[in-house]
Symmetry: C2
Subunit: 649 residues, 2 copies
């Protein structure tokens, strides 16, 4: 009794007053270092090591220090106890030690060869935070921000190609990686490195699906800084955003896939069930995300007579917007769907409807809030990836498996991009040039999503091996491919600040390039025209008037017998105020979209005027829609300009 009391009280005094503070301080320190580095890089236009790569490097060094400098304070570390009466591992273990009951919480299964002195090191343990924090807290802001800043016009112009790369491409990538890894696993079993029963084909496919999530944050940030060709940017951005969603749902479906008898044999029923699962989860998540956004739009739009409108309380409005968007993610997760897909489409829908209903103040607040959260979350994840190499305690390094994964990742990317580009070029009026294809091939970086999917489950040994391998692939691609982006752009002669565009005379150069014989950029829109036209008409006539203050009043778009209902549902502002400043902005935006669309549908030969207008607006879109850190200067202007614009209204 006495000994125990002593023991616990020593622990208490040590840890009572700084539980968790040291660990958080380490992250803060790494982030501060990263921010200062970004500042330094911005000043020196240094592009060989990007900030994400830098964050990872700092994390790595810090992990090394933590592992080998801090010593384990726990005397009992590495000792394994036996408990005869215990037949299974309950999630909460109540244990009676010398007449006092203690509560213990289940953490994980540990492979015997990892039971060593480091195992009990509380410092290492605390640095390894719960994977659910990744999924529930760090990823949602990143994905939401991607959706919220996605500009629909450019996205829709290349919709066909983006969907092909994202759905078909990811499936191809998953299967190719799965097959190659299965070959390596067979070889490993043959030379005795692995036991047969440890690694099934479904495990290989699982690894394939998680390794198929590309994360070109680094590449896109550089693209933005270098003013790289708009179409290439849009293709990569669109592909990577959707591809994450597809890869996550794919991983989920594969982990559910459970053939009845022999796990290595092909079970058609289980396969089709998985495909069904995939479609069901994707559609369900999409519906969940959009409906949360529609609810937000409706609340922010409410114009009950007795109530002050919510937009008069910008903090409440921002809070509600933030909480409902996050709830979209959490509800989808809680319902067994995929939160990432839900929050992505929630972001897109919020940007399309709710954003228009917000007060000027809230527009700025939400934009800056999500931008800031995205920035922090991204850098935390990259720092953490660096840290994890040394602080995670159940790594299983297998050189053959790692080599196999690197080969598989590149082969899979090649068999995704080149064949699909060939097929797409058959249908596209504006072909995807070879140089773009090479660049897309090269930009297949693995990042946050692959890491998060791998760390989600590290209970069993095959999963631990996959996690270690995924982490190393992330390191390799971020440092090698990320670092080589600038060199590759120069080598491939892709239009950017480096090649053909003078940073100071960017606009002049653009004007010049238009007078030269140019690719007919606009005609690409035709490929998604029919779907887009139907959707756009429906949205403009019914949804926008119902959910926002913009668009024509419902009374004019709905058939006459709907008039009583339409009158209730239409905002009073939609009638009389239609010509006021605030609304005209939306209407102009819409008309601009229509004009652009129509001009491109009718004019097959590129007319100088329409090209000029699309390029100018296109560039603007991308500056607003960038994922990374490039848009600071624009943000200042934007933030300063917004209230002034509104003060005129």
């Amino acid at each position: 009794m006495e000994k125990l009391k002593d023991y616990v009280s020593v622990q208490d005094e040590d840890h009572f007053y700084h539980q968790g503070a040291v660990e958080l301080l380490i992250f803060n320190f790494l982030l501060i270092l990263t921010i200062l580095t970004i500042w330094l890089f911005k000043n020196h236009r240094f592009r060989f090591l990007h900030e994400t790569g830098g964050a990872m490097l700092y994390g790595l060094v810090m992990g090394l220090i933590i592992r080998y400098v801090t010593k384990s304070p726990d005397v009992e570390s590495g000792t394994v106890y036996e408990c005869e009466k215990l037949k299974s591992g309950p999630s909460t273990l109540l244990i009676n030690i010398t007449n006092q009951v203690y509560e213990y919480q289940y953490k994980r299964e540990i492979s015997h060869h990892n039971v060593n002195g480091h195992q009990g090191n509380t410092m290492l343990q605390k640095m390894t935070f719960d994977p659910s924090i990744f999924f529930n807290i760090l990823l949602p802001p990143i994905i939401f921000h991607a959706g919220y800043s996605l500009k629909k016009r450019h996205f829709f112009r290349n919709l066909g190609s983006i969907l092909t790369y994202a759905f078909l491409g990811t499936a191809i990538s998953c299967i190719v990686i799965g097959l190659i890894m299965y070959g390596f696993v067979k070889a490993m079993v043959h030379i005795g490195q692995l036991k047969q029963w440890e690694f099934h084909f479904t495990d290989c496919l699982f690894f394939g699906s998680l390794m198929s999530a590309t994360d070109p944050v680094t590449v896109l940030a550089i693209f933005h800084e270098l003013n790289v060709d708009t179409d290439l940017y849009t293709l990569l951005f669109g592909e990577s955003v959707l591809n994450d969603a597809v890869a996550i749902v794919l991983t989920h479906s594969i982990s559910i896939y459970s053939p009845k008898e022999n796990p290595n044999a092909f079970d058609a029923a289980a396969f089709f069930q998985s495909v069904g699962n995939f479609l069901g989860i994707f559609a369900g998540s999409f519906a969940m995300g959009s409906s949360y956004a529609v609810v937000t739009a409706l609340i922010s739009f409410m114009h009950l007579t007795k109530f002050t409108k919510l937009c008069e309380f910008p903090m409440l409005e921002t809070g509600l917007f933030f909480l409902l968007s996050w709830s979209a993610f959490l509800s989808a997760e809680a319902a067994g769907l995929t939160g990432i897909v839900a929050v992505l489409f929630c972001g897109v829908t919020q940007a399309h409807y709710t954003y228009n209903n917000l007060s000027a103040d809230s527009k700025m607040r939400t934009k800056q809030l999500f931008e800031f959260m995205n920035f922090l979350a991204e850098n935390v994840i990259f720092c953490y990836m660096g840290l994890a190499l040394f602080t995670f305690q159940n790594h299983i390094f297998n050189p053959l498996f790692i080599f196999g994964a690197l080969v598989a990742v590149f082969v899979a990317r090649a068999s995704n991009i080149y064949p699909l580009s060939f097929l797409l070029n058959l249908g596209r009026k504006q072909k995807i040039p070879r140089t773009f294809q090479h660049m897309m091939m090269f930009s297949g970086l693995r990042g946050a999503i692959a890491f998060a999917l791998a760390i989600r489950d590290t209970d069993s040994q095959p999963k631990q091996m996959m996690f270690t391998t995924a982490l190393l692939v992330v390191f390799f691609t971020v440092w090698v491919c990320g670092g080589g982006t600038t060199a590759m752009l120069t080598w491939l002669q892709i239009r950017s600040v480096l090649v053909g565009v003078d940073p100071d005379e960017d606009l002049k150069a653009r004007a010049a390039s238009q007078s030269a014989p140019n690719l007919d950029k606009n005609t690409t829109k035709a490929e998604s025209a029919w779907l887009f036209r139907i959707w756009y008409g429906f949205d403009h006539k019914y949804l926008k008037p119902l959910l926002t203050h913009a668009g024509p009043p419902l009374t004019s778009t709905l058939p006459e017998w709907c008039n009583p209902v339409a009158r209730i549902l239409t905002s009073p502002r939609a009638y009389g105020d239609q010509l006021k400043d605030g609304d005209t902005v939306y209407i102009i935006n819409n008309d601009e979209l229509t004009e652009n669309y129509e001009s491109s549908a009718h004019i097959a030969v590129p007319a100088q005027d329409s090209t000029a207008s699309t390029q100018a607006t296109g560039k603007e879109d991308i500056q607003e829609g960038d994922l990374g850190l490039g848009g600071y200067k624009l943000q200042i202007q934007h933030a300063a300009g917004q209230p002034q614009k509104n003060s005129l209204a």
Copy 2:
């Protein structure tokens, strides 16, 4: 082996895809409900149940539902295992169950009578989050925001009184509660409810110190809404902000206090060591917080020739500001000091220096970011307090102890406010009226800090009893005192919208009240004049020029032989740009401060003009400095106005 595998995999399938999502969703749901309620309350001017009380109520109902509706999924719940070989409770337990090693994490000690069916309920467990989350994540934004929005002028005017209430008052409160509780504990031992060795006098003092932290968030929000007298507001705000810091350091010192032999006897050496600890920790935390703020000011002020200034990247600037302020908290905690004190003074210093160096965009970003975080954190804490009554699994309800605590809290508040007010009134030129004293007595609500201090340590049974009691006291004071604020204001006839001030003719009423014989408000400043004058001169001449762009250049304030150093340290803007718009604003602010101060020092009889100016500016200050949710409308104007002001510069 097979049984175990089955067991774990069932758990996996259940929890793998929504780890933590449901719990977060519940919090999101409660917060959304709270926001909608606030909106409703704002529309109906409903003041009997404040939003914090509402949040607590929602939490309570949700806790009830979770406890009695969800059933325990853990088959093994409530079973206590024996382990003969285990002699102490290690923080990490490696346990070998049927040939597989599992890792368990130490959670807490459990009293035998709490071992029941609910114990293993994972849902309840997950809703009870780690107390370190409170301290490291939820409290810092609240306290920082209090410091950041503290307006120095009004604070310094009443500095003497505020310091007296905060330091002396909290000490009195702590000792009175401690003594009364010791009496109750003795009585409980007498009637056999408690064993002698369980509760020492130091435990009673510990309870006294944690119950001395007042949290008038609710009261101040109502005060703001009702335009309550400025001096009363400042006294309460100042007292509560500093009193939290004092109570926390006191709790820390008492928990360190360990007399050598008999824990009930008075040990002078240990007592003085505790006093020394108190002073050391307070001073150390103050230094830590201020120095982080100074570092931030210096970084944001840096004007190296080759470098772009940080303020050209608002996101990096905001990020650095946020991370360094948080690091002040975490460093203090990691160094064994008190993070709350550090982050409070960090906030005050940041507002004084760094804020002036920020770009217009960052000024707004940081303000909105901290406001938003404060809002969320506050509501999460109040929801959580409601939840904790039913979800926390180790409550020990002892009616006598709870009754004792309620009595002690009110007696202690009375013996803090009335005697100290009497003493202060001896020295103050403008007396603190009886009505103000009654209102301050009534506003002694217990809230977030008391709760956080109590939940920090619930390992032993006395601590669990203290936690339960503290929670109930918080409920009682927030609902009864918080709900009765409006009634009390009316009853005491304190000047507010309810009494004497017409909301629509507020300014007219103010002008009218000035022509009537009025209390000489300004003369109160004289009491802190000598300290304030020295500090102000030093700050204006040396610190402001060194750390910001404002103030006279150092070359003119430092002695001549310092000129070379002074020239390097002074911002180039301080020389030539002194007359430009941006700087003039600061200079005007400073001069305004000086003028106010001088006018009050010289004029003993209230002159109509100076009173008018102080009242007008004073009101503005408080609207900017409020803790709660009242300032929405002002925020809109402020946010919209700021960029315009700057666009003129």
